[in-house]
């Protein structure tokens, strides 16, 4: 505890020091420029850096090789979300489940347990899914919601552009450029369920350097009657440096630490749970460095290095257990996971109608967990990949997108994942798309090397065993899309129908194991079931004016699975719907409403009786901006309580208020 708070203190103090140094200089800089009535010839004739570079420009939806959904700043604030994961309820086909108050799982088209393993999640190009178990620990990300510029969600596999794990889809979170947040922002949130948050952000410019840092603290009590509170201390720093007009260097650092409540209370059915209530302490941080050279809006080269570190410390004593003569069993689920990644990327546009991006990367994932892996040593998993993706505008109406990734990893060897998409732009307002793509999911370290034994002298229970003969899961996704704009009606429409064939889904099957003293069984990972997912999705945006916007998403999903090892066919809701409406009101008020409705869904590992029911949820937000800030009130789920992920997690009505002050 002491060590952790000291680390945070050092980080905060360093940030403050940097701030003081920089603001002093920035003021001097500003004074020098002020008060002139002369223009500089250089403003017309001088050079300027490429700001909207190839990697910053997003592809228009009509020309993208897959269905995409963009969540922008307006949507983020209008949604009233306090947790990043909640934003994905706005994306058609996505489902969000709270396994506990601080443990969210975000998945596309089901197939998920507490670790949703089949999405690539990037924050500024940094892959954040955990190498140990797969999936993203959303509450542990060193990221403040206010620092996000936009989120691009690719609904469909796209390894050629986004790398490993882009199996069912990609979440691409883009934070704000440091220059966009000059000044100081103080934000405070308070509400029911013990919600208390405070943030301080400061951004500034010093010559060619733009910087921003955010420090914050977040806490809440989680669900009623569950030990799932969280306390998060976070600090992030982003610096964008421009040594000359062509080059930029970005550096980021982030830290997220604090305790989280874990475990189950004793119940009548199970008065002595071995997973009894205890605390998990998280220490998560990253460093990222990227150099980028932009020759023009079509040509760019970048080299990026990042390091993620995530340590979860979790040890506790069980209640007295009969099997060991009434003794308390010491448990430990410490996991340390690290990722080192180096990537080169080159965008080029040799001809007006042809754009190309290629690159290569090398990565080492490291996991240490004496309990989960049954060894004190660190396991390394290396991954190298080579990727290329091209967009060829054959005629103004026909666009061919092709890409492929070649991957070599320690676990399953070499694989290739190709993708091809054809877009037909009927006219300025209507377009069609057809695409076929293949992707792979390499087993995570736990699936490969698990060896979870509970011992008390002799071996008590052998819970999990990995399997080094696993092959990657494969998906072949076929999709047809239509994108239409109806300017007269202020409508835009996106429809996708798809069929995904997934083979070799990895699950913890069961095999007998003689040495086990409890049940004589251990669960070993294997390539078990196949699944075919078919469905249709749409998103409709109605924006008659900037003061009124309505965004509707709907998805129909049907999973057809062999259901032999796992009942995959019920892991996605058949129908899911979300609606976000924003309206400016008289008196300078901004009103917004989020409505979410999904059918019943079962997460993997939950027995039928435990599962989450159908949900209906209505969130309301009312905000009033004023000179230098904003005040807002959010009510989440003003309807009846519903079950999140499992029946114990009742999401009943709650509210919070936000005060934001922007000091120049």
């Amino acid at each position: 505890m002491y060590k952790k708070s000291r680390a945070l203190k050092v980080a905060v103090l360093t940030c403050l020091e940097i701030m003081l140094l920089m603001t002093g200089k920035a003021h001097a800089e500003n004074n020098k420029e002020a008060g002139t009535k002369w223009l500089s010839d250089e403003d017309f004739l001088g050079k300027m850096p490429v700001i909207l570079s190839a990697s910053r420009l997003s592809q228009p939806a009509a020309e993208a090789p897959a269905a995409t959904t963009v969540i922008d700043r307006d949507m983020i604030s209008a949604s009233g979300a306090r947790e990043l994961a909640d934003l994905f309820r706005l994306v058609p086909g996505f489902q969000v489940g709270y396994a506990s108050g601080h443990w969210q799982t975000v998945t596309y088209h089901g197939l998920a347990d507490t670790y949703a393993k089949r999405l690539q999640v990037l924050v500024d190009g940094r892959s954040v899914y955990t190498p140990a178990f797969g999936g993203v620990q959303w509450s542990d990300l060193p990221l403040a919601l206010d620092d996000i510029e936009r989120i691009e969600v690719v609904r469909g596999p796209n390894m050629a552009s986004y790398g490993a794990n882009a199996f069912q889809g990609v979440i691409n979170i883009i934070t704000r450029h440091a220059s966009q947040d000059a000044g100081t922002r103080i934000k405070a949130i308070a509400g029911s369920k013990g919600v208390a948050e405070g943030f301080l952000r400061h951004g500034g410019t010093n010559g060619n350097l733009d910087y921003r840092f955010t420090v914050g603290h977040r806490e809440d009590n989680g669900f009623d009657n569950r030990n799932d509170s969280k306390r998060v201390s976070l600090a992030t720093l982003r610096a964008d440096y421009r040594p000359n007009t062509n080059d930029t260097v970005m550096f980021q650092f982030g830290l997220n630490t604090g305790p989280r409540g874990m475990g189950e209370p004793p119940t009548q059915a199970n008065p002595t749970p071995t997973n009894n209530e205890h605390t998990r302490t998280v220490n998560s941080r990253y460093e990222q460095l990227r150099w980028q050279r932009s020759m023009n809006a079509g040509q760019e080269i970048s080299i990026q290095f990042f390091h993620n570190y995530h340590k979860a410390s979790e040890s506790w004593l069980t209640p007295p257990l009969k099997v060991i003569g009434g003794a308390q069993l010491p448990m430990n689920e410490d996991v340390t996971a690290e990722r080192y990644d180096l990537e080169l990327q080159h965008n080029l546009s040799p001809f007006e109608n042809w754009r190309f991006v290629w690159g290569a990367s090398t990565r080492v994932d490291q996991v240490t967990s004496p309990t989960f892996l049954g060894m004190t040593q660190t396991l390394n998993h290396r991954l190298h990949r080579l990727f290329g993706s091209s967009e060829w505008r054959i005629t103004p109406a026909w666009l061919l997108n092709m890409g492929a990734m070649l991957e070599k990893n320690d676990i399953t060897g070499s694989d290739i994942a190709p993708r091809v998409a054809m877009n037909y732009l009927i006219n300025e307002h209507h377009s069609l798309r057809a695409s076929v793509s293949k992707a792979l999911r390499t087993p995570v370290i736990y699936e490969n090397r698990a060896d979870y034994k509970v011992t008390f002298g002799p071996l008590l229970n052998h819970l999990y065993l990995g399997n080094n003969a696993l092959t990657p899961e494969t998906i072949v996704s076929r999709e047809l899309g239509y994108i239409g704009n109806f300017p007269a009606a202020h409508l835009s429409l996106d429809i996708k129908i798809f069929q995904d064939e997934i083979k070799g889904l990895i699950s913890a099957g069961q095999t007998s194991y003689a040495a086990d003293n409890v049940d004589g069984k251990t669960r070993q990972f294997l390539n078990g079931d196949n699944a075919t997912i078919r469905g249709a999705e749409t998103q409709i945006k109605y924006a008659p004016h900037k003061s009124t916007q309505v965004i509707l998403s709907y998805a129909y999903t049907d999973i057809n699975s062999s259901n032999y090892w796992i009942r995959y066919s019920t892991t996605a809701p058949t129908n899911s719907l979300s609606l976000l409406a924003m309206q400016n009101l008289p008196g300078n008020l901004r009103g917004s409403l989020g409505y979410y409705q999904t059918d019943k869904v079962y997460y993997i590992g939950m027995v039928t009786a435990e599962s989450a029911g159908a949900m209906k949820r209505l969130d309301l937000r009312l905000a009033r901006p004023f000179r230098g800030g904003e005040i807002a009130v959010v009510a989440q789920n003003v309807l009846d309580g519903y079950q999140e992920y499992r029946y114990q997690n009742i999401f009943d009505s709650r509210w919070y208020a936000t005060l934001t002050l922007d000091l120049q």
């Binding site: 223009l39 010839d41 300027m48 490429v50 700001i51 966009q180 809006a297 300025e428």
Partner: protein, 331 residues
């Protein structure tokens, strides 16, 4: 190629040599009319302009002009001599600094010679003429070929390229707010509505821009030392792009940085106009034509940005042709 030669000749190590050569050449070609150009040979734009002048003059068979280049640095360090301006019929200054310093030049041979300022933003020329009225020699003939484009031309381009957009947002600063009435007039002729706000200081730029963006389909960048310069352009382009609103810039660099398009004049194009102006002045006993906007210009579109914004624009050549017709209906 020509640019390479100029750079080579004006390179620092050859500075002295070039100086001597120029003076000797002036002496040899004594029969011709001498035009003295004050420019910074280290500045690529200046050498481009001079090269443009030379090329334009060379196209006439009766080219009787002798171009004598006086480096700006010699005005700075007072090494400039009376003989540098001997027999000079016209002084051409290149850039704002040269224009400022030429007016204050205390050399008998230069004080009465007409001054033609090239490569100078209009607002800077206005500042200079205001100042010069109070100076010793108000009768001196003074004119300019501006660096910036006339507003009607920019608005014509907007109407041609983005006919579907009618709401034009403009952020002004303390220096540019005086442009507003003429801007509103010009916009009315084009059937555009202008929504403008004035930012008082650099800190309020983004807040002001956001106010304007809420009411605009597109943003016209107006050169103002406070609003649109190399330091604020990054923030401005990111903010507007986030809202998918195109920015119309005023330079090639602006388009490269991420503006949708721009109409601007290259130094070569201005050089051609300078050449034409001095030929005209030569026939009128060195009476200079009135200050004028660039006659020749270039349109550049950032196609990647256009594409990302989902905009379908005519190509640059088609736009240029139509803009020339709009500029000059007799064509």
């Amino acid at each position: 190629m020509s640019r390479f030669v100029i750079n080579y000749v004006f390179g620092k190590t050859h500075f002295l040599l070039c100086f001597v050569l120029l003076i000797t050449s002036t002496a040899i070609a004594n029969a011709a009319t001498t035009i003295t150009i004050i420019a910074n040979p280290q500045d690529d734009a200046h050498t481009e302009l001079i090269e443009g002048m030379k090329d334009a003059l060379a196209r006439y068979p009766d080219n009787g002009f002798n171009l004598n280049v006086v480096p700006l640095a010699s005005l700075d360090n007072n090494t400039v001599r009376d003989r540098d301006f001997l027999d000079t019929s016209l002084i051409v200054t290149v850039g704002t600094t040269a224009a400022q310093q030429a007016g204050q030049l205390n050399i008998p041979a230069a004080t009465k010679t007409p001054l033609l300022h090239a490569l100078i933003p209009k607002i800077n020329f206005d500042n200079i003429t205001q100042r010069r009225r109070t100076e010793a020699n108000p009768a001196r003939d003074l004119s300019a070929i501006y660096l910036d484009q006339p507003l009607p031309r920019q608005l014509d381009l907007l109407s041609l390229a983005l006919p579907q957009y009618k709401r034009l947002g403009v952020v002004l600063g303390p220096a540019s707010q005086t442009l507003l009435p003429s801007m509103e007039n010009a916009a009315e002729n084009e059937g555009l509505r202008i929504y403008s706000r004035t930012a008082r200081n650099g800190g309020s730029l983004i807040a002001t821009l956001n106010d304007v963006l809420a009411e605009s389909d597109m943003i016209l960048a107006i050169p103002d030392p406070l609003i649109f310069n190399r330091y604020t352009v990054q923030n401005l382009l990111l903010t507007t792009y986030r809202q998918k609103i195109p920015v119309i810039g005023f330079s090639h660099a602006y388009v490269r940085a991420g503006a949708l398009m721009a109409v601007y004049s290259t130094p070569t194009q201005i050089g051609q106009q300078v050449a034409e102006a001095l030929r005209l002045a030569a026939t009128k006993n060195w009476k200079l034509p009135a200050p004028q906007y660039p006659r020749y210009y270039t349109i550049t579109i950032n196609h990647q940005v256009a594409r990302s914004l989902g905009l379908h624009l005519p190509d640059e050549n088609a736009l240029q042709l139509r803009l020339q017709q709009a500029d000059n209906p007799s064509l």
